[in-house]
């Protein structure tokens, strides 16, 4: 049953001209407006960085835009910071700040737009760029007990800083280092969990559960244990190599990430992909979403120790993995996308086989869902657990299924369609409670919608080419976006004149939602922690990159 109540603050859908006019009215002399290019519909260049906080505030709070992220680029002799906002229905708005590279501090927007908090911390850690007014910088990606101050590995200036043989790598941890604890009460203490927990079956992340005894007051995640500097090692590499990286840094949504990367490359080279490929890409994206959601449901059942249900969900997931392997040759859909199309075609018979497998998965999920909704001991553990109310969800810019369980409406497949999603019939389920149970219902509903989309895509497959030859013409910059199973995946790509990657920026939904997780999840009982974690379904490795 899909509950679609009106959200508390229904954002009015705006035209791009309206946004441009409003910006011009308020900030007229301080900005330059231009038609954006390569995926961005409107570009607002600021003449003075001090305009940044008010303009961000206006876009986010008054114009109803959601926050995409910050792209920091170091070009020849200057900083170029692109703040991405999404206006549902009309597209990406970019607020552009440029400054000479001698500048080391810019105004912070995170007191206006809370979702920008971690983006600024990341830029400070990796580029050494300070954000004035930010409450807490440092100790983020480069953990303070391991890394010395002053290493800014993503800067182009100091290549020697990232030399493997430098003495500041492979160091011993600083035993003097202590985490920052906030809860100050008689008897308050912090319980550490991770980075190796659940017998190592959880992805590496560390939590400090601050408590005064029975209840956890704060749960502070410490991420980036899996930081592999995907953005840095992609630099000066050819597109074909970076595609392999895009596919392999977060395997549970690898097709979505490789697709977002390919879309960016195709935008730069103005490559048009054939109609058959577009439908196949939708088919594969939705297959991945279905499989991912089956896995997330397994995780929730496991966290409540309902083992038969967990096993039955795991059977669905494993069958989908096998069906994916039979269909594409790889259980996690690696090696399919390529700039210009897909690397292989699929026969009608194999599509029929796949549809059979999906049909079976949907039947099994329906039966599992019915069983779960009648198991009161299971529901008791999910209801009113880890609540993110709609105001908080808006404030922290929650995205993906987690956001949609808290009345957020964002889904890039509708808000900013790609690969022809606008021609498909599907619903974006929404709930308002924002608790673990709402998130579970969203997962089931989305899984059914994905199955519906796979069927539609399969019916639309006309014989034809599966790829257009990709030709590199000239350098350029473009944004590619995809609604990955966990939420939006944004890939910002700049190619230089010789076709090598100059800057590659990946913004993932997990990065966004982990920030919210920290703030939203407060005051809960110890035994609820695994359930809250499972119901959020966040991926540390996708966040870490």
């Amino acid at each position: 049953m899909i509950v679609t109540p009106a959200p508390p603050t229904a954002p009015k859908k705006l035209e791009i001209e309206e946004i441009a006019a409003a910006v011009r009215d308020r900030f007229g002399p301080a900005v330059l407006l231009s038609r954006g290019q390569r995926g961005v519909v409107l570009s607002v260049s600021l003449l003075e960085p001090t305009t940044l906080p008010p303009i961000s505030k206006m876009l986010f709070w008054d114009m109803g835009c959601s926050f995409g992220g910050i792209v920091v680029e170091e070009l020849k002799g200057k900083w170029r910071l692109s703040y991405l906002f999404l206006s549902a229905g009309c597209g990406w708005v970019e607020v552009l700040v440029e400054a000479p590279s001698t500048v080391s501090a810019l105004p912070s927007i995170s007191s206006e737009v809370h979702a920008a908090d971690w983006h600024e911390r990341e830029a400070e850690d990796l580029f050494g760029l300070r954000f004035e007014g930010h409450p807490r910088l440092g100790d983020f990606i480069l953990h303070d007990q391991m890394w010395p101050e002053g290493v800014a590995p993503h800067r182009k200036l100091h290549r020697e800083l990232i030399d493997v043989h430098q003495e500041h790598f492979r160091r011993r941890p600083n035993s003097e280092w202590r985490p920052l604890l906030v809860v100050q009460d008689p008897g308050a203490f912090a319980m550490p969990v991770g980075p190796i927990y659940e017998g190592g079956l959880g992805q590496s992340v560390h939590f400090l559960l601050e408590t005064v005894g029975e209840d956890v007051v704060r749960a502070v995640p410490r991420l980036f244990y899996n930081f592999r500097a995907v953005e840095k090692i992609a630099e000066e590499q050819p597109v074909s190599r970076v595609l392999l990286l895009a596919e392999r840094f977060a395997a549970t949504s690898s097709f979505a990430h490789s697709l977002a990367f390919c879309l960016a490359v195709e935008r730069i080279s103005s490559t048009q992909v054939p109609a058959r490929t577009k439908n196949l890409r939708i088919l594969l994206s939705e297959l991945e979403r279905l499989r991912h959601h089956a896995g997330a449901i397994t995780g929730i059942c496991e966290s409540t120790a309902l083992s038969v249900a967990a096993s039955q969900a795991a059977i669905v997931e494993e069958r989908l993995l096998r069906a994916s392997c039979q269909f594409t040759g790889h259980r996690y859909l690696f090696g399919l996308n390529t700039p210009g199309g897909l690397r292989r075609d699929f026969s009608a018979e194999s599509c029929t086989e796949l549809l059979k497998a999906i049909d079976r998965a949907v039947t099994d999920l329906h039966s599992l869902e019915d069983g779960l909704y009648f198991t009161s001991s299971f529901l008791d553990r999910l209801e009113d657990v880890g609540i993110v109310d709609p105001e908080k969800a808006r404030d922290l810019n929650f995205v993906g299924p987690v956001g949609r369980a808290s009345a957020r409406s964002g889904d890039l497949r509708c808000d900013c369609p790609y690969e022809g999603y606008e021609t498909y019939q599907f619903e974006v389920p929404r709930e308002i409670e924002g608790d673990g149970y709402a998130r579970l219902r969203i997962l089931f509903q989305e899984a059914y919608q994905s199955a519906r989309l796979v069927l539609q895509a399969a019916q639309r497959l006309e014989p034809g080419q599966i790829s257009t030859p990709y030709e590199f013409l000239s350098g350029g910059v473009a944004l590619g976006w995809v609604e990955a199973p966990i939420g939006p995946a944004l890939h910002w790509l700049r190619l230089d004149a010789s076709g090598l990657v100059e800057r590659y920026r990946v913004i993932t939904a997990s990065f966004n939602n982990w920030l919210g997780f920290r703030v939203a999840v407060e005051d809960f009982a110890f035994q609820d922690f695994p359930i809250i974690l499972a119901s959020f379904g966040l991926s540390p490795t996708e966040c870490d990159r």
């Binding site: 592999r228 549970t252 059977i315 096998r322």
Partner: protein, 251 residues
């Protein structure tokens, strides 16, 4: 609660017969490229060029595969160039290049192996496949294998991922906390050679640069059955496979 009990029974047994009998269900393994003979040396060279990570080398009419480097990108599986032959097997666990002989764990561990897994910068695929061993299809408990939450109780350390800089110390601490005798199994191309991440300022480029590796399991990711073979090899219930190059030398 009886409701779930009946439901579980109704589903029937899903578990594979492996290792008693081979598993042949569709989609259990992505397969792997194997040494392929081509009609001409030129074609063999072209087949080798397709590989983006240099896992294929051409020698006269044949193209050979170093599976440790293979990242399953399938460039040599589908395409217009001369393609490699792929084989749908899953027993891939082998000795590292540096080792000649393998001593399995003592007999007492045959049906009681406690495993701790460390995600050292993994993309999630290998870890997810390891996790699948607990699902009804593979059900490793029937073979006397268990995941354990503490290194103090672990006999085997399974490492996935290229060993990111931030996970290096936790990984070392885990290894040091394990009692002897202990074994290390590197799972996945990243854990063996760094895979696509290679060696960088935040990646050690494989487990062997940090810890002594007893067995390695190629694949990106290796499917659950391949991991099961690896675990059986650790306890000596299955033999690690020989390197393709080694078997060619002896033949």
């Amino acid at each position: 609660m009886s409701f779930w009990f009946w439901r579980g029974l109704r589903k029937g047994v899903q578990t594979t017969r492996y290792p008693k009998a081979p598993e042949s269900a569709a989609g259990v393994t992505p397969g792997r490229p194997v040494t392929t003979q081509f009609p001409s040396a030129h074609e063999a060279a072209r087949a080798a060029e397709v590989c983006p990570v240099g896992a294929i080398t051409a020698q006269n009419h044949s193209a050979r595969v170093n599976l440790a480097l293979c990242i399953h990108c399938q460039r040599c599986h589908f395409g217009d160039e001369p393609m490699m032959e792929w084989r749908s097997d899953y027993e891939w666990t082998r000795l590292p290049d540096t080792k000649q002989r393998y001593e399995p764990l003592p007999k007492a561990y045959k049906r009681s192996l406690h495993i701790i897994v460390v995600d050292a910068g993994d993309c999630g695929a290998c870890l997810h496949e390891v996790k699948q061993l607990n699902n009804p299809f593979y059900n490793m408990h029937r073979l006397g294998m268990f995941f354990t939450a503490t290194p103090r109780a672990a006999d085997l350390l399974v490492v996935v991922g290229p060993v990111s800089e931030n996970m290096r110390v936790p990984l070392l601490k885990t290894y040091e906390a394990m009692p002897n005798p202990k074994k290390v199994l590197a799972v996945g191309a990243c854990a063996i050679s760094g895979g696509i991440f290679g060696q960088s300022f935040v990646s050690a480029g494989g487990v062997s640069s940090i810890l002594p590796v007893d067995l390695e399991l190629p694949g990106d990711p290796p499917p659950p059955l391949a991991i099961l073979h690896g675990l059986l090899a650790v306890t000596g219930r299955k033999a690690p496979v020989r390197h393709e190059s080694a078997s060619e030398r002896s033949s």
